[in-house]
């Protein structure tokens, strides 16, 4: 590495420190020592959670360095799974299931309602106040409570326009 690179490297502050590092380290400990890479998915999730809900190349590079893998291995994984985001999202990302069981119970209409409510024209757009974005997702394994959506770590089932309003209004 050239001196210039080294300097840049030192100046770049890694997000993998403090609490984030502790959490990732806990995951690393779950796998055999030589399989540090197994902690990649948890690391992506944790870093995403603590970095405005989406991953930048820089963040992914930091993870690569921490887990001692090539950056492209991280990009591959981060773009394969649908829970990792690569563009800015709202503070709360509404993930509305639109798969068959939810569709049969009206998810398409609810999507229109949500878009209207958070003032966006398309999925993937961030609401003007930065609070929300909405995404159509595949079956989340809760068809017993269809239609459903998940936001962050919480499932919300048996949705109606009213309950959606209530849930969204109740968020910070």
């Amino acid at each position: 590495m050239s001196e210039k690179n080294q300097l840049a490297e030192e100046l770049k502050v890694s997000v993998i420190q403090g609490d984030v590092k502790t959490r990732i380290d806990r995951w690393i400990a779950n796998y055999p020592e030589e399989n540090r890479k197994s902690a990649l998915m948890p690391a992506l999730r944790i870093v995403q959670e603590t970095s405005n809900g989406y991953l930048t190349t820089e963040l992914m590079d930091q993870i690569a360095e921490y887990l001692q893998v090539r950056p492209i291995e991280v990009y591959e994984v981060a773009t394969f799974y649908s829970m990792y985001q690569h563009k800015p999202v709202g503070r709360h990302q509404i993930c509305l299931c639109t798969n068959l069981s939810c569709m049969l119970r009206g998810s398409d209409e609810l999507l229109e309602h949500i878009k209207h409510k958070i003032s966006v024209t398309n999925t993937g757009e961030v609401s003007p106040d930065g609070k929300f974005s909405v995404r159509k997702v595949e079956c989340a394994g809760a068809c017993g409570g269809a239609p459903m959506m998940w936001i962050g770590k919480d499932y919300h089932e048996n949705l109606t326009e009213e309950t959606i309003d209530e849930i969204l209004d109740g968020l910070e």
Binding site: M1, S2, N5, T57, R70, P71, I72, E73, Y75, E76, T79, F80
Partner: protein, 705 residues
């Protein structure tokens, strides 16, 4: 051995071999895209589906191990239906831009489509378009054409050793690439061009310069390192358009280093010297060969009166024939000041004999070495293909150690790595560890290196270019030979240039004469230089240029014209490049490989061996009546003049003053600046920028008492 039946034909096979290999050996064609014999099996393209009796579904031949009595149909209705289905799927999103695709005419997809594709595609939806990425100066991408076979990705992981390309995204959105805009830096990256079955990855320098059917193929040997990679030179008319690897399992397998692949651009450089030139009264003028040679012969005769004042230097990239004839002329004139060891700085052994550069293992054997110690070598850049062999050994669990002046980026794990300014002190510790294995004062790493070499079945020590260029080369040699003696390892001084071994063979050495260092430091009256650029090819380039300037007469046989030569030289004679002449290179393991002329020499340049023949005659020397380069080669073999005074280091008393060790860092020679041709290969030059940003560049360090 077991027997299986393919299309009714009995075929012998080894249990567990993959069906596709068995069929290949029996010359039964099975279409494939993802399978490649040098890569791991992915079985993702599904093109090789065949019918196996008893199996409900068609099976991929590339991933189906054979079992005794297996009955296979590669052309049954079921097999062909499966193959056609896959072909149709591959084509739906593939652009039909064959007429403007560089791969057209040599595209695996095109070939197979001719056999299996339906003429009318029923896919009427919009085709996928993928944005192209700039991945550097060597490889052009057209990712819309990619069929996702992942050969290129597997190449990076498995052969190149650095994963640079990957497959990001999933489903139809899966894209092959670097994800971010980034140059691929593997020193073997060009192989991905060959591996890519379609026109997704093509050669950037070659782009749009010819169509495959316009090209003539010529077999050649690459002149840029001591591997002697077998190449195919593709020429359109008299222009070299590209260089690709020839299959040669014992030497370069199916691969080619980027240097060997892209350096050809240098021979088409605008710098080429295309006519003889002489300088009189400070003025250069173009002359015909007759005039130039007569002028040169007269001058040489004149300076031959004081033969000890004439120096003859040659690049070790010259052919065996050229080196042989030039030394024959020199010796005929009574000149014994001959050298090709342009990079070496320590010649203190010369009075005892000459170090024979030699790899004492075959390349295949290197893969089997149980333990190897690299001393002063950035092997990955010096000899990419040898590094590849050693990498295979390391991946297979063999031990590779290194003692180097810098920490290099190596594409495999170095089991025991020592990085220190002072190679001697480090080597001494390994000697100590071998002599006193019980000692507690020696660091673990030296003990590990020592024990790896002494306990392994086959072990080897390889001295690389950094050692060779070290001002303490002799002492390094002494210590490593002690290590070899104590451990039972084989000591190798790696030949680096294409003909280091050849130069030794024809005795292009200062037997009874001055070595290059002496030539440069005592005032010589005349120099004859073959194929070298003193300022770059000689380690102390400044000193060399100084010496040339001071000489009264300098005759350069050169491929290229340059300002600096015009300043110090008196005659410039244009000679042919490796593609324009016939000749022989002797590679690191001693394999002599001859090649023929692929294209005519550019302009008025001539094959150097022919020039020497004429010059020999003009100088009234005996035995210059060759009509074919073969005759020169035959004479070399016949005379067997290989220098006999090989060193026996044990017999020489070399003192190593432990206290007064010299801290010296040898400047690295950049991977793409090894000879006058590579230095002029424009794409490599651009690529080398990307490479040098990722390696440690060092400056020479001064002596520290």
């Amino acid at each position: 051995m077991i027997k299986i039946e393919i299309n009714g034909q009995m075929v012998k096979a080894h249990e567990g071999d993959m069906l596709i290999d068995v069929a290949d050996d029996a010359h039964i064609a099975i279409p494939r895209f993802c399978y490649h014999k040098k890569l791991s099996i992915a079985a993702n393209c599904r093109m090789c589906l065949v019918e196996v009796e008893g199996a409900p579904k068609a099976l991929p031949a590339c991933a189906t191990p054979v079992t005794d009595g297996m009955k296979v149909q590669t052309k049954s209705v079921k097999a062909v239906a499966a193959q056609k289905s896959v072909m149709e799927f591959l084509l739906i999103n593939h652009p039909l831009d064959c007429p403007i695709c560089d791969q057209g005419g040599e595209c695996e997809l095109q070939d197979v489509a001719m056999q299996y594709g339906d003429d009318v595609s029923r896919f009427s939806e919009a085709k996928r378009v993928v944005a192209d990425k700039n991945i550097g100066a060597l490889i052009h991408t057209d990712m819309t054409r990619c069929i996702h076979c992942t050969r290129c990705v597997r190449f990076g992981q498995e052969i190149g050793g650095i994963m640079e390309l990957g497959a990001t995204g999933r489903s139809e959105w899966m894209e092959i690439g670097t994800y971010i805009e980034q140059s691929v830096i593997s020193e073997m990256s060009g192989n991905m061009i060959d591996l890519c079955p379609v026109g997704a990855l093509t050669s950037k320098p070659y782009r749009y310069s010819a169509r495959p059917w316009e090209l003539k193929s010529h077999h050649g040997i690459s002149p840029h390192d001591s591997i002697g990679s077998n190449i195919i030179i593709h020429a359109k008319g008299n222009d070299v358009k590209r260089v690709v690897p020839a299959d040669k399992e014992s030497i370069n397998e199916v691969w080619l280093s980027d240097r060997d692949r892209f350096a050809y651009e240098g021979i088409n450089s605008e710098d080429r010297l295309t006519a003889p030139m002489i300088k009189e009264n400070g003025k250069w003028r173009q002359v015909d060969w007759e005039t130039a040679l007569q002028f040169s012969a007269d001058k040489l005769k004149h300076y031959a009166a004081t033969p000890e004042m004439m120096g003859v230097l040659a690049s070790p990239t010259a052919t065996l024939e050229e080196l042989y004839l030039l030394q024959k002329i020199a010796r005929g004139l009574g000149v014994n000041n001959l050298d090709t060891r342009l990079r070496q700085q320590d010649f203190s052994l010369d009075s005892h004999g000459f170090v024979k550069p030699e790899l004492k293992h075959s390349f295949a054997e290197v893969e089997k070495l149980d333990a190897t110690l690299l001393v002063g070598s950035y092997l990955r850049h010096e000899l990419p293909m040898l590094n590849h062999r050693l990498r295979k050994a390391q991946l297979a669990g063999k031990i590779v150690s290194s003692i180097n002046t810098e920490k290099f980026e190596i594409n495999y794990e170095i089991n025991n790595e020592v990085v220190a300014d002072d190679l001697l002190a480090e080597l001494q510790l390994v000697v100590d560890a071998l002599e006193k294995p019980e000692s507690n004062n020696i660091d673990k790493v030296y003990k590990k290196i020592a024990s790896s070499l002494s306990t392994a079945g086959k072990s080897s020590i390889m001295l690389g270019q950094i050692s060779l260029m070290d001002v303490n080369f002799t002492k390094i040699l002494k210590l490593t030979s002690d290590i070899a003696r104590l451990s039972g390892a084989v000591l190798n001084v790696l030949p680096i240039s294409a003909n280091d071994v050849g130069a030794y063979m024809v005795n292009f050495l200062p037997e009874k004469g001055k070595n290059i260092q002496q030539m440069l430091t005592t005032q010589m009256k005349a120099f004859v230089n073959l194929s070298l650029e003193a300022e770059s090819d000689i380690t102390d380039g400044k000193l060399a240029i100084e010496a040339m300037r001071k000489a009264e007469f300098v005759l350069n046989f050169s491929l290229f014209d340059s300002e600096i030569q015009r300043e110090y030289a008196d005659v410039l004679l244009p000679i042919a490049s490796f593609a324009e002449t016939a000749g022989t290179f002797v590679n690191a393991m001693g394999t002599k490989q001859s090649f023929k002329m692929a294209v005519e020499p550019q302009g008025d340049s001539k094959a150097a061996w022919k020039v020497f023949r004429v010059l020999g005659n003009m100088l009234d020397l005996e035995g210059f009546d060759y009509t074919h380069s073969n005759q020169v080669f035959a004479e070399v073999l016949e005379n067997n003049i290989e220098t006999k005074n090989e060193l026996v280091l044990e017999k020489i008393d070399i003192k190593i003053d432990k206290k007064k060790s010299i801290k010296n860092k040898t400047p690295l020679i950049s991977i793409y600046e090894v000879d006058s041709i590579t230095r002029r290969a424009t794409a490599l030059k651009t690529a080398s920028k990307a490479v040098s940003e990722t390696i440690i560049v060092t400056a020479p360090v001064q002596e520290v008492g």
